[in-house]
Symmetry: C2
Subunit: 170 residues, 2 copies
């Protein structure tokens, strides 16, 4: 029964709440940092980067790509929460890496999803180019004038982060 899994999560939450120590923390991230990364199950941004609650906003989607929704989120973070820094953190072995839009659409269709020709899934035929493009898109967004943006890649095989686009680039 899959619903038993939801019960597991609620039980885990009761344990979390019993030793909750976040009382009185405010929404603005104390490091003025947002991490944009992939939804991949192997990525725990707080653990990977040593962040504790209250320190950073975390935005996640398939690929850690820059989209209209990402810009919406970071605009709100900048205007309402005082963000100054963004780490865009892609990762190795991403399901979108080395793919084309056509190959992703074909795989989704084969899996039984109804995918339109116009659907854009933000495949990354060349992962380094995609990461540079995403960093540039944030740097050039007219909605995000004040953010400093870097591009990193997390290696799911060994836990290491490497710099791909530094603060000085671009």
């Amino acid at each position: 029964m899959l619903a038993a899994m939801l019960d597991d999560l609620i039980e885990a939450n009761q344990r979390y709440a019993a030793s909750f120590d976040g009382q009185g923390k405010a929404a603005p991230p104390t490091r003025r940092l947002a991490v944009l990364t992939c939804m991949d199950s192997r990525i725990d941004p707080a653990a990977i980067l040593g962040l504790t609650t209250g320190e950073a906003n975390v935005v996640r989607n398939a690929g850690g790509r820059v989209t209209t929704d990402t810009v919406r989120s970071l605009a709100l973070g900048t205007g309402l929460l005082g963000l100054e820094w963004v780490v865009v953190m892609h990762h190795t072995d991403c399901a979108l890496a080395g793919q084309s839009e056509e190959s992703v659409r074909a795989r989704l269709t084969a899996a039984g999803l109804t995918v339109s020709e116009a659907g854009q899934f933000m495949a990354m035929p060349d992962p380094d180019t995609a990461l540079r493009d995403d960093v540039e898109a944030l740097r050039r967004s007219p909605l995000l004038p004040r953010l400093h943006v870097v591009g990193w890649r997390y290696d799911v095989a060994n836990g290491r982060v490497v710099e791909v686009v530094s603060a000085g680039d671009g």
Copy 2:
């Protein structure tokens, strides 16, 4: 110097990598679960719900709202990674809660951002309605035929999750 903060993150990552235990984990989340939640700095979904790496996809944006990008991510998760369940987890004290689009735009403009009249920030004048709408949007998305979706709210004051929209609703 803000760049020193990036050095902190890289140093923390070196410690993480030194004791990395995720080798050989695969991308498909073993719980066939995605958690959609807010980017808020006070939310650590893994800790709150007792999830370890490899168990769940995590999608985050401002509010934990359902957008075109959310649907893209969950379609990829369904078609490529075998997702079956989604927990939409909004939270108390969200910067978007109790706001209108107009009030959010006014606050962003006051903060110095160049916001167009057409900009949509997904404010939640009524948080319960917004959560129900988001759950319904996923349930009815033609791209996501197979997902079971529930709506929960996390209380940032005490660490507790409460159910708002159950698997049986709708």
